[in-house]
């Protein structure tokens, strides 16, 4: 393993900024410092336009930051090639999105199996691994269903199962309950709590404070600046 820096933290942002080269330039993220330890459950709260999405994209290695250092498991992400960053996304980060992003023409289990496609991994046992992931979210009985036949909460659980496949170091979710009613939202958050109990590191981005309340740490973002609530 590469030598970890930042006291074994899972990820560490050090004065990370993201400036968009528009006219005038937009400072979406300004000197962000953030350290997340393995096993943390962190909520990032903020209104729309606060820089939440930019932070999500930087954390998820979907976007390159303009300045500062971002270490993931001690590795400086800035120095990685596109393919290595893609590998990091594929193996280390599980994404959960607001609108689930399931493929409508594929069964539930096939949707979960998709997570392994970009890992250049043998297909042997892929279905079994997907079934195990579905078991963790309690959906084994829906494995052969098409996603369109599932409720919103069930669809989000399929998406979580997909994110869990291969046991990533970080579960990164973007408004995971944004498309769900409050009762279903609670159930999804209960599932997150379970996963947190099991030792998963969870970062969720939300604009709803009752969702953020469930996390251990709450970080506010406003105008691209982070501020941790203690």
């Amino acid at each position: 393993m590469p030598e970890p820096s930042g006291n074994g933290s899972l990820l560490a942002l050090d004065k990370v900024s993201r400036v968009f080269d528009t006219d005038p330039p937009v400072l979406a993220l300004v000197d962000a410092d953030l350290t997340i330890q393995p096993g943390d459950w962190v909520a990032i709260e903020g209104p729309s336009g606060s820089g939440k999405s930019t932070l999500l994209n930087v954390l998820g290695c979907l976007d390159r930051h303009t300045s500062g250092t971002y270490r993931f498991e001690g590795v400086d992400v800035t120095a990685l090639s596109d393919r290595e960053r893609a590998g990091l996304r594929s193996r280390r980060i599980g994404f959960v999105f607001q609108s689930f992003h399931l493929m409508g023409h594929r069964s539930v289990v096939e949707n979960v199996m998709l997570a392994e496609v970009y890992r250049r991994q043998s297909r042997r046992g892929r279905r079994e691994r997907a079934m195990t992931a579905l078991e963790r979210v309690g959906l084994t009985n829906r494995a052969e269903f098409m996603p369109t036949r599932l409720s919103g909460g069930e669809q989000q659980r399929v998406a979580i199962a997909r994110a869990l496949l291969g046991s990533p170091s970080l579960l990164l979710s973007d408004e995971p309950t944004g498309n769900l009613d409050s009762k279903t939202s609670e159930k999804i958050l209960d599932l997150f709590a379970d996963l947190h109990e099991q030792g998963f590191t969870i970062v969720m981005i939300t604009h709803e404070s009752h969702v953020a309340q469930r996390a251990d740490r709450r970080i506010h973002i406003r105008d691209g600046r982070l501020e941790e609530a203690r």
Binding site: R83, H101, M103, Y118, R119, R120
Partner: protein, 417 residues
């Protein structure tokens, strides 16, 4: 691929790069295509039509080309007509020697040769009855031709009845005649069993045979043919008008070059040699014009097909924005995204090529059957067609694939719900 992977993992890399096995890539592309099967079929249709038109054109060109050569093989490719140039310097009336057939028979490759000369009968009419019947016509104006014994073989003449006059008839100047089928019909002669005779002017000739058909020199069928020796002694013809040569297949051009020297070593330029190559070339040119037109049509439909694929793939890229975003999030690089869309469009082109080649081949067979031709198709044509289709798919998928690859995952993920 697996070897590379195991190498990397044993080295404990800084960060494992993302990657995709060929099998997974093929799977994802197939799934992408079959998500909308109806649209895929319509998209492929353009390529199908284009490839089918090309294959059918090439096949029909080959088929018709083969047909023409087949017909010419029988006759035109083996015939040579020799005439004397008239009015040129140094040409005597006796331009063609009487022994031309004998001289030509000595050449390797000559199957048969014979002289043919129009006989001027001085207005003598032809009749079979000595009595003038006022109620029906008994005297006819028919062409009379003098033929050397070899002329029948050289024109591929067949007999309906009787025999051909031989060399002896010619040498002795016998008064015998052969009727063409048309001439026989006119004169009302159907059989030579009763030894019918005819009169040319005042001379009486024994009819020894009636022609059924000739392969070449069709005017013989409407003529009265008398032996050459007879014509020389009776009508004083001075030189053969025409020498007809039948050669072995493939020997025509050689014999055509040798003939002037064999017949007129003193003045080869005095002869006109008509050999088979020219009419064939004319036919070829006609076929080529048609080919060009159809190939052009096939090309245009292929272009339309390619634009169709490009268009649909582009629409598909726009529609699948969310999917692209998701794929990027779960580890796809821009390259992986581009590869998948390229593979999808290439597969569509390939399938279009396969189906188009089948349809085109079928069209060649159907047209050939209805026309009674032998279908001929270069085996490379249907085999190359799918490759051509795949290349078209690849090219037309390039721009959409680039668009898909350039898409920012951030925007792609947030779009719609």
């Amino acid at each position: 691929m697996r070897i590379r992977r195991s190498k990397r993992s044993s080295r404990a890399p800084v960060m494992q790069r993302s990657g995709m096995t060929m099998l997974d890539l093929a799977d994802e592309a197939t799934a992408g295509l079959f998500a909308r099967p109806g649209r895929m079929i319509l998209t492929v249709l353009g390529t199908v039509i284009g490839i089918a038109a090309l294959v059918a054109t090439l096949g029909l060109a080959k088929t018709t080309g083969n047909r023409i050569i087949g017909r010419f093989d029988e006759l035109a490719a083996t015939e040579i007509f020799v005439t004397a140039k008239t009015g040129t310097d140094g040409v005597t009336p006796e331009s063609l020697p009487w022994d031309s057939p004998e001289r030509l028979q000595r050449l390797e490759g000559v199957v048969a040769a014979g002289n043919l000369t129009n006989v001027d009968t001085d207005g003598g009419l032809i009749s079979t009855s000595p009595i003038s019947d006022p109620t029906s016509q008994t005297e006819f104006e028919l062409p009379v031709q003098a033929g050397s014994p070899g002329i029948y073989a050289a024109t591929r003449a067949t007999l309906a009845t009787g025999r051909f006059p031989d060399g002896g008839n010619s040498e002795r100047g016998d008064r015998v005649a052969v009727l063409g089928s048309g001439a026989a019909l006119k004169l009302g002669i159907t059989s030579v069993a009763q030894m019918p005779a005819l009169r040319i002017g005042d001379d009486v000739y024994l009819i020894v045979g009636i022609l059924e058909s000739v392969g070449r020199q069709q005017d013989l069928l409407g003529s009265v043919i008398i032996p050459e020796g007879t014509a020389r002694s009776t009508y004083g013809i001075t030189t053969p008008d025409l020498v007809i040569i039948e050669t072995r297949i493939g020997a025509a051009s050689l014999i055509a070059r040798q003939t002037p020297l064999a017949l007129r070593p003193d003045n080869p330029a005095a002869l006109t040699i008509a050999s088979p190559s020219e009419p064939q070339r004319v036919k070829d040119a006609v076929v080529n014009d048609l080919n060009t037109l159809f190939l052009l049509l096939g090309g245009v439909s292929l272009l339309v097909g390619a634009i169709g694929i490009a268009n649909v793939t582009l629409v598909s890229v726009m529609e699948r924005t969310r999917e692209i975003g998701l794929r990027r999030a779960i580890g796809a690089t821009r390259g992986h995204i581009a590869a998948q869309f390229l593979l999808e469009s290439t597969a569509m082109g390939f399938v279009g090529g396969v189906v188009g080649a089948s349809v085109g081949t079928l069209a060649v067979v159907v047209v050939s059957v209805t026309q009674g031709w032998t279908p001929v198709l270069d085996p490379a044509t249907p085999l190359l067609a799918p490759i051509g289709g795949a290349i078209i798919g690849l090219l037309s998928g390039t721009y959409p694939a680039v668009r898909a690859a350039r898409m920012e995952p951030v925007i792609a993920l947030r779009s719609g719900s």
